[in-house]
Symmetry: C2
Subunit: 216 residues, 2 copies
């Protein structure tokens, strides 16, 4: 009957419903992880928040790890689409780098669980998780960095930095204030990273990297 | 009998033995964590490696989390002693910053588990863990950064950067290549971070921050 249903006009609606449930589950997981300082989201909490039966996690994603991987895929898709559009824009390399820095800090601000989740799935030991993270996040970023650095070298505004080393230094710097957010009261005397601190941090990272990597 | 023994001349030897067992347990834990990509060290593994009965973990440290905290204390003690000596040296602020950057990258190279372990104990939810990390790592680093930045501003070699924001950007940049070491084959085409890559990375971070934070 299920296969018949897929062939009827009703299948579009079924597909929509399926899509809506998957989105609700992913949204709920993202929400729960954003509120927590650790990667901890129980199936019952995800189910309650998304108003989708927890059995659907198994049906759509295999298990909770599969749900986490799907959430990473979704984050990556949005972020890498923007990055690839940025790279092909007709603007200077330093302007691209500045927009990119603003973009990743905004991503971590919106989804502070992002790097924690990446580490969680990589360290959960699934052989495919590490490859997937490489494929959806790291490889596209390396490609973009390679193009931006080459453009900057040609324009005389950037030194010929190794894109891999640039990746670690920039992503590490951009992420750490969110990753180690438990320490913000001690370091900055503020309860948490707010929009103003985020802006100050973005300015500092832009200054440090754009000036630090300039050839003059 | 135990309390009598503590009053006899033999108690020094007992104290030495206690110290040796504690050191063996800490060394074994550090070794196991250095080899792993995650914070995972079983009591039986620690016991086997240290040749100290696993019951001693309970006796000396309360539990495994206590052992982890003691390992962090030991790491912090060494690192913060060096940092405080560096700060009081009669050299320029930029020279201090350069030596400090080399120092933290060397620490992460030797003990790649360091930041993972900090996060592990902070996220394990013990109320005292977060405070302890602040007290032994973050507060002393903030104090040092405050002094170095003020000196650099006075010497005309550094901009007046917020020490807390400098802390996040610098520590995040220095750490990320070790923290995300699973991706090194993808980014750098090398099996792992070796001495040569570590040196290249150190040079890049020094260049980026010293030049990036200079007022000219």
């Amino acid at each position: 009957m299920a296969s018949n249903a897929e062939l009827t006009p009703g299948s579009a609606t079924r597909g929509d419903r399926r899509g809506a449930s998957m989105t609700a589950l992913l949204d709920a997981t993202a929400e729960i992880l954003s509120e927590a300082t650790r990667i901890e989201a129980s199936l019952s909490e995800i189910s309650k928040r998304s108003k989708v039966n927890s059995a659907m996690v198994k049906y759509y994603f295999g298990d909770k790890e599969g749900l986490f991987l799907a959430l990473l895929d979704r984050e990556a898709e949005t972020a890498m689409k923007s990055l690839s559009e940025l790279v092909s824009m007709d603007i200077s390399a330093t302007r691209k780098l500045r927009i990119h820095i603003q973009g990743i800090i905004n991503s971590y601000y919106r989804s502070p669980y992002l790097n924690r989740l990446i580490h969680y799935v990589v360290e959960s030991g699934r052989p495919e998780a590490s490859e997937r993270v490489s494929k959806v996040f790291i490889q596209p970023m390396m490609d973009a960095y390679r193009v931006i650095v080459a453009q900057g070298v040609a324009e005389g505004t950037l030194i010929d930095v190794d894109p891999g080393l640039l990746y670690y230094s920039l992503v590490g710097a951009a992420d750490h204030i969110f990753f180690a957010s438990y320490s913000v009261p001690t370091t900055l005397g503020a309860p948490s990273v707010d929009a103003k601190i985020k802006q100050q941090y973005t300015d500092l990272i832009c200054t440090t990297f754009l000036k630090g990597l300039s050839p003059d």
